[in-house]
Symmetry: C2
């Protein structure tokens, strides 16, 4: 932060400059500034993405839009001394980036004490807001310095707005949306910025209606609190960076497969097939709609009434009007017929109002209403059978692999598990690949290359966001990503993994450690984080812990499955060679007690022109964890859904 | 097709060559043929994608895998005359590409008659199979010519297999999967091929178990019949081409947005929000799972028993064994104790068998079982509230647009409509874009550019598939795509569209044509196909026919919505500027009788830092219709789901 003397000098300069622009002729916006396609503004990324960070554009007029991250006001009228003492605390707070402070405070309790000592924090904030409110009532000419973010990059732009252009009490509140036309100039306040915008016109102002109710106005929200405000989260620097990294990883995924000749297939979300053979599926149905409708049978038509424009509010207004009319007719002693007609009319409207009020009440009660269907029959359901949300797209993808060769899919998959984990939510995006004429080894190689490609590309293509992550979230991030990119993944069979876990120091694991158990997150972490300190591929699992479709090995006990375990994140990829022998597959389906009818189509693929094939699924959301150093998947999924948690 | 004399000469040549390769030294597979990453074979696209179509590779040894599309056998032992008369019909059928024939027959009834006249069709096919079966029993040395497809491109490769390498009766059946090692050579049979493979080793053979049950063995399946075999469809030339065009369009979509600085956001599929305000939603629930489990309460544990490997079949086998043992003990008159123990053991196994049989029966009955829950309460449901599959991702996308600027999504969306249309299925992939600081005009421009970009890129990047489509599916396809790319879309307000429809020749439309109606597919088609003969953008719709979130125009009757109507396909894009004014929006929600609680988070976006913004959704599956000339969306969606139809 610039020393006070410098700041003062800058303010003086800003004042001098502020009085000039209106006198100049307004030049047209020069065409060599790339205007955002499809919105009439320049995005910050195109300014800061230049080699000169925008310096060469000084003097040009542009339109900039974004949301206020922090702000500072410098009064013009009072003496410089008064300004310095009175508003510095507020100014200080304003200069802090919400998210940086929030993270620092969250991660380092000692930092909170430090902030309190220096008078920054809640107390200072309230002072600042208090004085803002006061200033709205007693306007004083001032210059406002806004830090604006438009989400296109990490950096914010300083926008200098004269109080005559917009009320400081409104625009200074963080979260305010502002679209300004202005001139690019050298910063008047020093600091790290190369350029700033001197606003000439405020084209749009989206105020924060109630500062107290805007969740991001509180400056120390940890990520887990932000989850309740998923719709506002991307306005914080951290979640915006995560969103851009997600975007980068998405494109890197498509590029990898396209480069390697894989075709993209949109596999279905709704399915009759239990795609892993474990039963934690969601039902998809319209039966509950029907029962809801039956129990409040007036609803559908009522909605149509409302569509035609009759709202309770308008009926109530008309009721009052008509009631007044009746009163007036009574008072003015007009003819009886008119009075009766008016009363009749009033009565009708009253009835309608009562009807609508009852309906509104019913509507409100609907969410908590008991639905008591006498009988539900899946043959009455929308698809005439029981339908589920898919757990995995691999079985459907196989159908395309056994026709087109190399295919992949990328979409949402669903598990209705009731456990709380930092690695799972109910709806996760998965990347699935399936390769014809491939065996376990090839699938492992492909998984290996994809993972390295993703880590490499995020470092290359999201460098600004990675710098932010490195600085504010996780200092070990680059090291971990580089380990993934440059190390040879350790490949060990499941039985060796069990041996290592058995010999774990200090009898670390309470669970009866023996061949056949499902490896837990804790086990996987021990192998990847403590033993090998790099990604580990575990393969040849006992058949009982893997889906029904995995190819049985000759020992008849293990199957050709593998998991890729990455330090700190866990199993990000699960793959397998799939059973191509129809008899082995149908035996396995029977052994597991699965209803074989649902797999007839799947068995068909083996009955007619079967090919050896292998593939894997990568949990995309976990790759975002890996790339950002965030520890809970709910903080990297745009709108996380989990047991008992669904806000929007 | 080559005349008989030529074919005969070719066969002689083939015989001569067939006897040679085994004597040569086996050269290693040369490294400059690009082997498919992650499967040990060369994909056809890399051969045919070369400028010389593979000619320069003659003499090299490669591995090729794929599925037999058609076949021809030439016997070595019998006299050439006998071969010609006896097997020509079969050979002819073999040469026909399944899909081409199927389409031609489907489209031109006269062609069927033609085929019958020339003895090609079911009759000829059965003859051919009959003689194949005969030959399995009485093997005769022969050379088999297979047309192999691996799905990487339209073209097939001719693979020449000597009958000593694999039984012709197996490999000649279409749909057979084969992986061969062989040498690239000049075609021995003439024809359109530049190269063929002389097989030296058959590395894998996936036979068609029952030719009668393999749906694609029937040569005249129209597309609508193939829908019942969605898992086999991609093995037909047409559906494979559609799949590759879908892939091309997917990448083109991502490229467009990436080039224009849009961030990709994975919006949720499960939601509490009625995202359009019209109620044709699917419920997502685990309540039905619970009631199913309750009504067959032994099921979950039973499944676990089966996981430990006890299947009814194995228990029955053991039962028989033990029963034999008891009989033997009785017969051999051994000691009483041993007999009693054996009887006891038999009894136990019998009980277990009865238990498992009962369970299996229950399992089978499950699918049709009535579920009779006494009460269903959404607070008991997985999310503790009623949850739906999203109808549109736009409202969630807005949250990210109002933080990051330009964003888009691409994922499955769901509507539980009960109408049968060639343009809709229950699960469709949509591309949604949302732009901050944009109004109706910018959104239209973006939609316009995206549509042109997609049509342009499919012509540029899928040229081989487009040639196939042009030849076999739709001769007007290129013309229509070029119209989209090069024409200026006609922009007309809704009221003008109504005026034009009112004046339609011969009072075409029965429906009472007046301002306020929803335009039907028929209306839209009339405007785009008959009046303007190019894409039409209709805008400023009555508010009643558009979702609650569309921005109200100053006339208070219309809203800032638009649809892009494309000839032959209809409305492929629906867009709007969305209401950024909180009061207008909440009034509209109330007017429509929607439960306002679910939209609180959405209204929040307007309460705090609202920005003008606009966007659109493009129905991706309809773009595939546009690009392929196919007329029913169920033929271009990999696994279509519609009312009463869910197979896998």
């Amino acid at each position: 932060m610039a020393p006070k003397e410098e700041a003062h000098a800058a303010v003086m300069e800003a004042k001098t400059m502020a009085s000039q622009p209106q006198q100049q002729e307004t030049p047209p916006i020069k065409s060599h500034i790339p205007i955002s396609n499809y919105s009439k503004r320049v995005v910050l990324k195109t300014l800061f993405g230049r080699e000169d960070r925008g310096f060469g554009l000084i003097g040009e007029k542009i339109v900039i839009g974004g949301w206020v991250k922090s702000s500072k006001e410098v009064r013009k009228q009072p003496s410089p001394l008064q300004h310095d003492t009175e508003h510095q605390p507020g100014a200080k707070t304003g200069h802090k980036d919400v998210t940086c402070t929030e993270i620092l405070q969250n991660r380092m309790p000692i930092f909170r004490t430090f902030l309190k000592l220096f008078g920054v924090g809640n107390h200072a904030e309230k002072d600042s807001i208090g004085s803002l409110a006061e200033r709205v009532q007693h306007p004083v000419s001032s210059t406002v310095f806004l830090q604006i973010s438009d989400g296109s990059c990490v950096a914010t732009l300083q926008v200098v707005v004269d109080s005559t252009l917009a009320p400081p009490g409104q625009i200074m509140i963080s979260g305010t949306c502002i679209l300004v036309e202005g001139v690019i100039q050298q910063p008047t306040t020093g600091g790290k910025h190369i350029i700033e915008i001197k606003a000439e016109k405020v084209l749009h102002l989206g105020v924060v209606e109630d500062h107290e109710k805007y969740p991001l106005s509180k400056k120390r929200l940890p990520l887990h609190t932000l989850r309740d405000w998923a719709h506002f989260r991307p306005r914080t620097t951290t979640v915006a960076s995560i969103a851009r990294i997600r975007d980068g990883l998405t494109h890197a995924t498509h590029n990898f497969f396209q480069k390697n000749g894989f075709l993209y297939v949109q596999v279905p979300v709704i399915t009759t097939t239990d795609t892993e053979g474990f039963s934690n599926k969601f039902n998809v149905t319209t039966l509950l709609n029907k029962t809801t409708e039956e129990s409040s049978s007036t609803k559908p038509s009522a909605v149509h009434e409302n569509v035609s424009g009759v709202s309770l509010a308008s009926v109530k207004a008309s009721l009052k009007e008509k009631s007044n009319k009746v009163e007036e007719l009574k008072r003015t002693d007009s003819n009886r017929e008119a009075l009766l007609a008016a009363i009749q009319d009033l009565k009708k409207t009253d009835e309608l109002a009562a009807q609508l009020a009852a309906q509104e009440k019913k509507e409100k009660a609907k969410d908590t209403a008991l639905v008591k269907p006498d009988r539900l029959n899946f043959t009455d359901d929308y698809f005439s059978c029981q339908a589920f949300l898919t757990v995995s797209g691999r079985v459907h993808l196989e159908s395309y692999a056994c026709a087109l060769g190399n295919v992949y899919s990328f979409g949402p998959r669903f598990k209705a598990h009731t456990s709380h984990s930092t690695r799972h939510v109910s709806e996760m995006w998965m990347v699935e690949a399936e390769i014809a004429f491939a065996e376990l080894e090839e699938s492992m190689n492909c998984a290996n290359d994809l993972l390295k490609h993703l880590c490499k590309s995020v470092m290359e293509n999201c460098s600004d966001d990675m710098k932010f992550i490195l600085k504010r979230v996780d200092q070990g991030i680059v090291g971990r990503l580089q380990t993934v990119v440059s190390s040879t993944f350790e490949k060990i069979p499941y039985c060796k993994a069990i041996d290592i876990l058995k010999q774990a120091k200090e009898k670390k694991f309470n669970l009866n450690m023996e061949w056949g158990i499902t490896l837990t997150e804790e086990h996987e972490s021990y192998l990847a984080d403590e033993i090998y300190k790099k990604p580990v591929i575990i393969y040849d699992y006992p058949k009982e812990v893997k889906p029904f479709y995995v190819r049985q090995n000759d020992d008849r006990k293990t199957v050709a499955a593998f998991d890729v375990i990455v330090p700190k994140v866990g199993a990000v990829i699960r793959g397998s060679q799939n059973e191509e022998r129809v008899k082995m597959l149908s035996t396995r389906i029977k052994e597991l007690g699965l209803s074989s009818e649902q797999y007839e189509w799947y068995l068909d693929l083996r009955r007619h022109g079967t090919a050896k094939h292998a593939g894997f699924s990568l949990t995309f959301d976990l790759i975002v964890l890996l790339a950002t150093g965030i520890s809970d998947v709910r903080d990297v999924v745009p709108f996380p859904r989990s047991y008992g948690k669904l806000n929007n």
